[in-house]
């Protein structure tokens, strides 16, 4: 009984597609799996990478799957390092129009750091899923309208 969420404009009726990624050696996948399923229930198309992906693998998957958003789940403290590397790689492949969002155990002091690197949104544990859904829809819509221009 999942509600089908599509973008409001008729030209962008394709489901919002999100790549949920686990990068590096972090094994904490509870959040990634819960969010993958919750987004699917909310009408998104979700690709989950599984554990221990490299930045290269994630960028390749994002391009190949033509996703609207990359969501990185990080619980082991390397979020700044990984975000930098990921955004660099996306630029290298000319795919830096794909917005990156992050979630996980991230110190509040790093929120600005991540945003300055170019991470669009950071969701801390306890963020209501509805809020995540709304923000992702907005981000995807912005990108799609930019692409049409």
């Amino acid at each position: 009984m999942s509600m089908e969420l599509t973008l409001s404009r008729p030209t962008t009726r394709r489901k919002v597609k999100v790549l949920v990624a686990k990068i590096g050696l972090d094994g904490h996948d509870r959040g990634a799996k819960v969010i993958a399923r919750a987004l699917r229930d909310a009408g998104f198309e979700v690709v989950y990478t599984g554990l221990r992906q490299t930045v290269d693998q994630v960028v390749a998957a994002a391009i190949q799957e033509d996703v609207d958003i990359i969501g990185v789940n990080q619980h082991e403290g390397s979020h700044v390092y990984i975000a930098r590397k990921l955004l660099e790689k996306l630029r290298e492949y000319g795919a830096d129009d794909i917005p990156v969002v992050m979630g996980g155990s991230i110190p509040v002091v790093d929120l600005d750091v991540l945003k300055n690197i170019g991470v669009r949104e950071v969701f801390l544990p306890g963020t209501p899923i509805n809020e995540i859904v709304d923000k992702l829809l907005r981000i995807a819509e912005e990108r799609r309208s930019r692409r049409e221009v």
Binding site: G24, V34, L124
Partner: protein, 566 residues
Amino acid sequence: MAKLYSREALEEILRAYREWEENILPQWLSRMPERQEEFTTLSGIPVKRLYTPADLKDYDYMEKLGVPGAYPFTRGIHATMYRARLWTMRMFSGYGGPEETNERLKMLIKAGETGLSLAFDNPTLVGVDPDDPLAEGAVGVVGVSVPTLVDMEIVFRDINLGEVTTNMTINPPAPVLLSFYVAVAEKQGVSYDRIGGTTQNDPLKEFIGQKTHVFPPEAAVKVAMDVIEWSVKNLPKWNPISISGYHIREAGATAVQELAFTLADGIEYVRQLIARGLDVDEFAPRLSFFFDSHINFFEEIAKFRAARRMWARIMKEWFGAKKPRSWWLRFHVQTAGCSLYPQQPWLNIVRTALEALAAVLGGCQSLHTNAFDEPFRVPSEFAAKIALRTQQIIAYETGVADVIDPLAGSYFVEWLTDEMEERAWRYIERIESLGGMLEAVKKGYPQREVEEAAYRFQREVEEGRRFIVGVNIFREEDVEEVRRVPLLEFNQEEVERRQKERVRKVRSMRDEARWRRALDELRGAAERGDNIMPYVLNAVKAYATIGEIMGVLKDVYGTYVEPPYY
């Protein structure tokens, strides 16, 4: 037979209860309706408004409870429990390089912790060296980086391994870290019979929670059993395995699932060791356990008590163990990391205190209390000290440690203990029907169960059916205050550089021929299916690195790649 209540007494109690339910309660309910339609534990067990002896109708005291220090150990494994000796206050710690961690360990010892527990960084947990591309950016972040014997020596500088016991949360590379530890002890002149501590070394739960797996399930179990077999024969005081529900719970399992899956893992290991030709009473006293203590207070206490009783039955009745020590379920507890939130983070101090209290009322042997800043980072010294002091307040101020199993006989607690047990047995039966836990894990059964439970919990929180203060009730938006929480600061890049440099230096300075021979012999042993422990110890002493040793083992055993979905 030691029935608690006579038939006459029960009838009278039941009459009074019905009278209350029919004549008194309705008026109250009409004036003051209950807060919720249904109240359930975190495992989803519905709880009634009141428990009476009628809920323990045929309760046989001796069969279910007995006395502490005697079968079935529901009331505790020791006759004296905390009146004689408090639980071990064992703080899980480690960050940066071995130097930083050595300092932290010494600080905690000075602050009164009574056992050590090492947290390793992710590269160490999966057995790669600091200069491996996979380790980039992760060296020393969530724990200490220990790639060689040289590093381990620094971790324990000025700490006498004959005088402390150390837990090491390490799984696939457990043979390597245990060898590091033994080699350091030898260098300090500590004999094998004085080396005490624990290697987590629990491979099955890696596939369900934790997820620092390296080898495929069969090989992973084989390696873990090697560690147990070798330790039982060589290190009489070592706990070679800590059969862990903690990570299963943190991955989203309910308390019932945690209880059942942990015991089912234990059952699998006992079978594996018996199949190797070991006598059950030879190894069973060395098995230890590790549980989570979550926020639903009574359910956790019931879980610990049920676990003790169930394991005693399993060891005595299923496996025919004869020594009472073989029937003991000795366990460590960590308060629930997943119950902590970044919103109003100081509230985590309170959560941790309540969870620690449940662990003590449940009769744990050792305890780690989480620091309130852990939703953000590895704890600061300040936060770690509050966590340790929380245990000390429970131990020395509250008086809860002065009476053995003080909640026994509570109608509710005993009913819930029975209920947890009953529900856990049903899971264990299901796992047995799948061929035991190794087979069940290969089929993805516990993994799916835990994923389901994690999702269910999240839905309950989203829908306001579970409350979390500061998260879905009593929220505050003030991030500035949170920003001021002083977090642990250290120069990770500098640590990574130092660790890379050191591992390269170790490689360049060792006796090349001895090192090569040690690794070749290890490969031979692994290929033959021999117990690899003596060969790993030998390689470690020849200064082989963790990455090199694990590399040889991965060549022989293969590497597990988890499917994204079950």
